[in-house]
């Protein structure tokens, strides 16, 4: 009999709320008009009408380039950079006779540099292409006609095809669902890839087609689907289905989206409506906004500065050149006759000195191109990619449980990680694991469950009551791991069936029954172990069902119309099977804040179970149901104080009459197709959810992630809390609130300025925030917020989060980092300088919008303190070094040109020059950028103050950059003058030979190579084999090159022919000069470093000292150093630093006070 009724009751009815969510805002009459023109001829993709439509294939390409567009497109990308454009310009000029060097020697480095970047692009795109191929070649069952389905590849699908998708497979395209293995045409869909939500969604086909449940049903099947044009909205769909001469409206409920997955349903049939690029998911696909790091922006400025100085230097040279040239020939009097100024080409013509000067300017621009490091961009790119690999590979940022390593989704921001001044964190979702634990409950006015919540522990710890700490640590020991995830309840009165002996055992029984029934979770039985796990829409719901199971009310089966539980019978003390007929589900939503189910038990009694937020539930209680109201409220306050999430549970019995009338009205409301449909349903639901009888309340702990405690501690127990609580009732005039908020902000500022020793926490709620963010208040608010050590914005909307982020970013001008894990954090993540997504349970939305994804909040510490610090140091040092080495080199060129009467004659052979950036000096710089460590990871974490180097931008300040450049200029000067003075015009060897251009050039070049490479060795304090290889290898490479180049025929090597073998190597003076110039040039730098290291150590120097002295493990000593450097920056620095310090201090404290 039960079976019969079950058949009649359609499951769809139960899910009316879910199903009915779609709004019928769009008039279906629009279909066929503009924007709604799509037509799919089901089962007839070959018919002539369909052929005319010419919709794209289902082939999806995510690649940036195609074979044809790769070259033009990626080249274009490359030359959007000013520096590259400049090099292209010089490359073009180098083909004219203006060029001071041969065209090949400038073209080849350019090709190498551009080619390396393009190769990187190509490899990345190739990976995407491979991924595409894999996706496009997935197999799906396609209807072939004559009642058979056969496998075909995804890419072959066309609009109108009928496909069959089986359980746990992805949908190949956007489908209109026709039927499923369930009779009423429902199916479950997992949309993880689309919106990141892990819960299952219910979809349902139209009733007319739900009967097409066999392969054979599609014989002679014809249908025309007309619908909207492709768009990116995942939650809307408007269309009509023409089937058997009837038109039926289609809603999102029938649309199965590509890349979502069929779950818990054996198979479905569907018609393809959108293919390939037209699918919703592809329409949604967009690249995360590209952000550039502050360092790179500064570097651009630096390049502009250099370009500018290059122009200045060139024009000075040109003017001088023009004057000297015009002087050569004056009124028929020839001065430097050996140039034949009377018969000169335009480039040197004294008669047209102005033109010659302008042309010379171009030459000089080319010659001085060595001021600008051509390989800088490509080196930075290589370095950043490698750095990201290191971040991804960090085993300590790998989370075993979720099997997720850290993932740097963009490598642009590595160094920015080392400069974060403000962290904006999504509190609840981010700090918590998003896994709920059922921990306490209050039933019939009695509180059950002991055990401390983490917040309680934290408070206790803060207050210094060691007893609790000990207890807690003992406790921690005992239950190192809760045996069951989501359940941490412990009370002897309740567990093991003891609740039967409690005073209100009937109420307790109803309480747990409610927990087992009133939900939308789906049980999954593991076939091997027989264990039951649940798939629920939210983790707290799962926690309830699990709690019910553990306490003897095991929910084990959900059919379309019933819920079956194993229930402990208080009389027999045995588990009996009970089945409840599920009549209606009144879904949870944010305005109702409650959820109810109407069930009929096997005795035929009708029951309404309801659970919801205290704010709404207490109103709903009937007169007879308020027995333990006060007690319950009291308990709930306690729970709330302990940081638990609470829900009120209540029920009522319904009589047959009442239910029938309700059901009728409910059905009517549900079936109405008007805009106020939702309100109607709500109204009907409201009518029955009254006169409830209170059962009790539950308390669920939102588990905090390991190590995520810091910020919470500060909130709850800050030394002073400015509480900007604004209890505005809805009708309160905005002005009053605004004034009040303003007043409070000002008060807060006064308080802040009156005391400068304590750090403050600022708490502000969403509503006040709305006023605080208005234009007139926002700067005041910012000032206040910046003055506080931490700011907590509670109950704020996603938009407000983004607004706060923008305010902080714009107001402080410092680097902001936003961290979050939910879809509501997306705005914030994108707005901040760096968005860090937590790939937790709340889905992938935040991760997709983030720049870097980590799996646990606690990894942020390592990400920032270790990787951030390293990357910042590496990149800034590398950029400085690049400019330094090019200035050194460029200056020798400039000085030499001055000695050749600014004629544009380079001191070095063409190939020496072009290989300078590409071969001899670039690898050490890249190795610096990838491998350098000032201090090891352990010390980075141990001394968070080191991070201040990045926040205060000490390593890439203008002072730092300019001193590097200054050093470059000095080195260039000393190299040039020492070399020229030492060699001079006298014989430079025993055989009486004098130097010539080639010998001077090669000697000077040798010195430059030695100096810049040794400077590198001086600047780093971390030598692995790699460093040694690249630095000394770079120098060795130069000698090898000189040998090789000198050995080839003089037709190619021209004046460099045998210069090393014959001219330099046998000459003692060459070696002695090299030694002298290198030592003399580097000596000032060495002295500076020795003095700085000894007398003015920077943070990392101090730590190096400590490591050297072996004090690093002396906790008291560390503490002194730490405090000294942290104290002046406590206020106004992000709470994280503060928190980390306090946490570390605690650790030290523990260490010191450990019993021997």
């Amino acid at each position: 009999m039960a079976r019969g009724t079950r058949r009649k009751l359609h499951f769809s009815k139960l899910y009316s709320f879910v199903c009915g969510r779609s709004k019928f805002e769009v008039d279906h009459s629009q279909i066929g008009g503009p924007g709604f023109s799509r037509v799919a001829y089901a089962n007839a993709p070959d018919c002539s009408e369909a052929g005319n439509l010419n919709y794209g294939s289902n082939y999806v390409s995510t690649t940036k380039y195609t074979l044809a567009t790769f070259f033009p497109k990626s080249l274009f990308e490359q030359f959007r950079r000013v520096a590259n454009l400049y090099f292209l310009f010089t490359a073009f000029l180098s083909f004219t006779s203006l060029a001071p060097y041969s065209a090949v020697s400038i073209i080849i480095p350019l090709i190498v540099v551009i080619g390396a970047t393009m190769l990187k692009e190509a490899i990345e795109d190739w990976r995407r292409y491979r991924q595409d191929i894999k996706v496009n070649n997935r197999k799906v069952e396609l209807y072939h006609g004559s009642s058979t389905f056969g496998f075909t590849e995804w890419k072959n699908l066309r609009v109108g095809d009928i496909v069959k998708v089986e359980k746990d497979n992805f949908f190949p395209a956007d489908l209109v669902m026709l039927s499923s293995s369930y009779e009423d045409g429902i199916c479950y869909v997992e949309t993880m890839n689309l919106d990141g939500e892990t819960n299952l969604k219910l979809k349902q086909s139209l009733e007319v087609t739900s009967g097409l449940q066999a392969d054979s049903s599609f014989q002679n099947f014809k249908m025309i689907i007309k619908c909207e044009d492709p768009n990116a909205s995942l939650y809307t769909f408007v269309g009509t289905m023409e089937y058997e001469d009837q038109e039926y409206p289609l809603s999102p409920q029938q649309l199965l989206l590509r890349d979502s997955k069929l779950r818990n349903t054996d198979y479905i049939y569907g018609v393809v409506v959108f293919t390939g690029r037209d699918t919703k998911v592809m329409q949604n696909a967009m690249n995360p906004p590209s952000k550039r790091s502050k360092i790179e922006m500064k570097m651009d400025k630096l390049i502009y500065l250099l370009l500018f100085s290059l122009v200045v230097v060139s024009s000075v040279g040109s003017v001088v050149f023009g004057i000297i040239s015009s002087d050569d020939l004056q009124v028929g009097k020839v001065k430097r006759w050996y140039f034949r100024p009377d018969d000169s080409s335009i480039y040197y013509d004294p008669k047209r000195a102005a033109v010659a000067a302008i042309l010379h300017f171009l030459t000089a621009i080319m010659l001085y191109s060595y001021f600008i490091p051509i390989s800088l961009y490509v080196s930075i790119e290589i370095v950043k990619v490698l750095q990201s690999i290191f971040i991804n590979q960090d085993i300590q940022m790998y989370h075993e449980e979720s099997n997720k390593p850290a993932r740097a989704r963009t490598s642009n921001l590595n160094e920015e990680l080392g400069q974060v001044a403000t962290i904006l964190s999504d509190k609840t979702g981010t700090l918590t694991c998003n896994s709920m634990e059922f921990i306490k409950c209050s039933i019939a006015g009695i509180a059950y469950g002991h055990g401390f919540t983490e917040v309680e522990r934290a408070i206790a710890r803060r207050k210094g009551s060691l007893s609790i700490e000990n207890e807690q640590s003992k406790e921690n020991h005992e239950q190192a791991k809760p045996a069951i995830k989501g359940y941490n309840f412990d009370d002897a009165r309740i567990i093991n069936g003891n609740w039967v002996y409690e005073p209100h055992s009937d109420i307790i029984r109803m309480f747990f029954r409610l927990l087992a029934i009133c939900h939308t979770a789906i049980p999954e039985v593991d076939e091997e172990t027989g264990k039951i796990s649940y798939e629920a829409e939210s983790p707290d719901e799962a926690a309830f069902v699990i709690a019910a199971r553990e306490l003897g009310f095991e929910f084990y089966q959900r059919t379309q119309t019933s819920i079956s539980i194993h229930e402990l019978d208080p009389v027999s003390c045995k588990h009996v099977e009970k089945s409840y007929k599920l009549l209606n589900v009144l879904e949870f939503n944010s305005s109702r804040k409650r959820m109810s189910v109407v069930v009929q038990d096997d005795e035929g009694k009708l029951l309404l179970f309801s659970k919801g937020a205290d704010s709404v539930m207490f109103e709903k209680l009937g007169k007879g149901g308020r027995g333990f109201e006060n007690k319950t409220k009291e308990h709930m306050h306690e729970y709330a104080d302990a940081g638990l999430r609470t829900l009120v549970l209540a029920y009522r019995r319904l009589d047959e009459e009442e239910y029938k009338s309700f059901n009728k009205r409910f059905m009517a409301a549900k079936n109405s197709i008007t805009t106020d449909r939702d309100e109607k349903i709500e109204e009907v639901a409201d009518s029955i959810e009254r006169n409830l009888i209170l059962l009790g309340a539950t308390a669920v702990e939102d588990k905090l992630q390991n190590g995520g405690m810091k910020q919470i501690i500060i909130t709850l127990d800050g030394p002073e809390i400015i509480h900007l609580e604004k209890d505005g009732n809805k009708e309160a005039i905005a002005k009053v609130s605004r004034d009040s908020v303003l007043y409070q902000i000002n008060e807060g500022k006064k308080l802040l300025s009156s005391s400068n020793t304590e750090s403050f926490a600022l708490v502000i709620d969403g509503r006040s925030l709305a006023y605080a963010l208005e234009d007139d208040a926002k700067n005041l608010f910012l000032q206040l917020a910046v003055g506080c050590a931490s700011v907590i914005c509670c109950r704020s909307s996603p938009k407000q989060k983004a607004l706060v982020t923008r305010l902080v970013k714009a107001g402080s001008g410092k680097v902001t980092l936003a961290i979050g894990d939910g879809a509501n954090d997306v705005g914030m993540l994108q707005e901040a300088d760096i968005g860090v997504g937590i790939s937790g349970a709340e889905g992938m939305q935040a991760v997709m919008a983030s720049d870097i994804a980590i799996s646990q909040f606690r990894f942020l510490e390592r990400l920032l303190l270790v990787h951030g610090h390293w990357c910042y140091r590496r990149i800034s040092l590398m950029i400085c070094y690049f400019f330094y080495k090019n200035l050194t080199f460029g200056l020798t060129l400039f000085l030499y040109e001055a000695y050749s009467s600014f004629s544009g004659q380079p001191a070095y052979d063409d190939w020496y020059m072009s290989l300078y950036n590409v071969a001899f000096t670039s690898l050490p710089a890249i190795a610096l950028g990838v491998f350098d460590q000032d201090v090891s990871a352990r010390f980075c974490l141990k001394f968070p103050m080191l991070y201040q180097e990045g926040v205060q931008n000490l390593l890439f300040s203008w002072l730092q950059i300019l001193s590097w450049m200054f050093s470059g200029v000095c080195n260039g000067l000393t190299i040039f003058f020492f070399c020229t003075t030492a060699l001079q015009h006298r014989a430079f060897r025993k055989g009486g030979e004098v130097i010539d251009l080639e010998v001077l050039g090669a000697t000077m070049y040798t010195c430059v190579i030695w100096v810049v490479n040794c400077q590198m060795a001086l600047s780093i304090s971390y030598f692995t084999l790699i460093q040694h290889m690249v630095i000394w290898g770079g120098i060795a490479l130069w000698y090898l090159f000189l040998l090789a180049y000198g050995a080839i025929t003089p037709t190619l090597s021209t004046s460099a022919f045998m210069v090393f073998v014959e001219g330099l190597a046998p000459t003692p003076a060459y070696w002695i000069i090299t030694l002298f110039v290198v030592i003399a040039t580097l000596l000032p730098c060495f002295i500076y470093l020795a003095v700085q290291m000894r007398f003015f150590p920077m943070h990392h120097n101090m730590i190096q000292w400590m490591r050297f002295d072996g004090h690093a493990d002396d906790p008291e000593y560390c503490q002194v150093v730490r405090q000294r450097s942290v104290r002046p920056t406590t206020v106004g620095v992000s709470a994280r630093v503060d928190a980390t310090v306090s946490q570390l201090a605690r650790k030290v404290h523990d260490m010191v006070h450990l019993p021997p």
Binding site: F339, E401, K485, A841, T981, V994, P1068, I1079, P1097, W1105
Partner: protein, 343 residues
């Protein structure tokens, strides 16, 4: 791993793409390289290091400086500027007119006193000042192919404006460098004995062997209306004309010397050498200087005190710094500084 709560990737018997990766751990593989824990040497500038570096540099530099200075001191150098002296008194007003007038015989006699004993070989140089052999127009004004290979005599690209004669036949060697070849000549007599100047082997061997052909003979050289410098012996191949080869090796700086020849005879102190020179080369129009230099050489080359002094300075400085740092380190031990002074 029992996924009992909301996780959707629970136990499922599906064969879909999504279910498999659960088992392949994404745990990064451990290696010292990927975890950035490679064995590394992490030197820091400790007092010991600083002092040893300074001392080491001093220890190396001072002896080298002394050796270099001694070498330089042993070199005897006679420098004689003759361009101003070798002009008849009546022509000093217009030196350019004098030098450009082919009719005047420009022979000039100079007496040089040997200050110290000079051991052979004695190198004879001419030195030019303010002569921009390194000017780009000048440096490029040659054609290497033509110099090397007789078959490529027609290759005169880059040689403007000394490329071809008026009728279009190529000049060998072409270009401004060859055209402006230095043409002063020197003859030395000691007492009444002629000091022979050996002009063989004054150029780089690689130039003779590889850059100037042994079957390339001068053609149409200095035949134009405007004569530059010296003419060449039409019967000698280019690789035998060492003056040209030396001249063609462009100097690096505007002041330069070029080897003129070697005297294989020892000279005694206070010997007086009489130089009979022909002052042909025009340096007057660009205010250049001409000097004649006789010099011996050491292992370091010519007379050059700079290197020795520089080495000694740096070496001394390093010794000083080593002492200074030692004193400072002793007077102010670091640990106290770190904890108190800079705080």
């Amino acid at each position: 791993m029992n996924s009992s709560s909301g996780s959707a990737a629970g136990p499922s018997s599906g064969s879909g793409d999504g279910s498999a990766p659960r088992r392949n751990s994404k745990r990064p593989k451990y290696s010292k390289f990927t975890q950035q824990e490679l064995p590394a040497c992490k030197p820091i500038l400790t007092p010991k290091w600083v002092i040893s570096v300074f001392t080491l540099v001093g220890v190396i530099f001072v002896p080298i400086g002394i050796a270099a200075l001694m070498a330089s001191n042993n070199v005897v150098e006679i420098v004689d500027r003759y361009d101003t002296e070798c002009i008849p008194a009546n022509m000093t007003g217009d030196k350019v007119a004098y030098i450009q007038n082919d009719d005047i015989i420009k022979t000039c006699t100079r007496n040089l006193t040997v200050p110290k004993d000079m051991d052979q070989p004695i190198y004879v140089y001419y030195q030019l000042d303010n002569f921009y052999q390194n000017h780009r127009r000048y440096v490029k004004s040659r054609n290497d192919a033509q110099l090397k290979d007789a078959d490529q005599a027609n290759k005169t690209s880059g040689c403007d404006p000394e490329k071809t004669t008026k009728d279009g036949s190529p000049i060998v060697p072409c270009g401004l460098i060859a055209w402006s070849l230095f043409n002063d000549t020197y003859n030395f007599t000691l007492g009444n004995k002629n000091l022979s100047v050996n002009k063989n082997g004054i150029s780089w061997k690689s130039d003779r062997d590889h850059k100037f052909g042994k079957d390339v003979y001068p053609k149409n050289f200095q035949n134009g209306t405007l004569r530059g410098g010296a003419s060449l012996d039409l019967n000698k191949p280019l690789n035998a004309q060492e003056d040209l080869i030396v001249w063609m090796r462009t100097a690096a700086l505007p002041t330069f010397r070029k080897l003129y020849g070697k005297i294989h005879q020892d000279l005694k102190a206070n010997d007086i050498i009489m130089v009979t020179l022909e002052n042909n080369y025009n340096t007057y129009s660009f205010n250049g200087k001409k000097k004649l230099v006789l010099s011996t050489s050491s292992w370091l080359g010519g007379k050059n005190d700079f290197l020795g002094i520089a080495y000694l300075t740096i070496g001394g400085l390093c010794f000083f710094l080593a002492t200074a740092f030692t004193v400072v380190y002793l007077v102010k031990p670091r640990r106290r500084v770190l904890l108190c002074d800079t705080g």
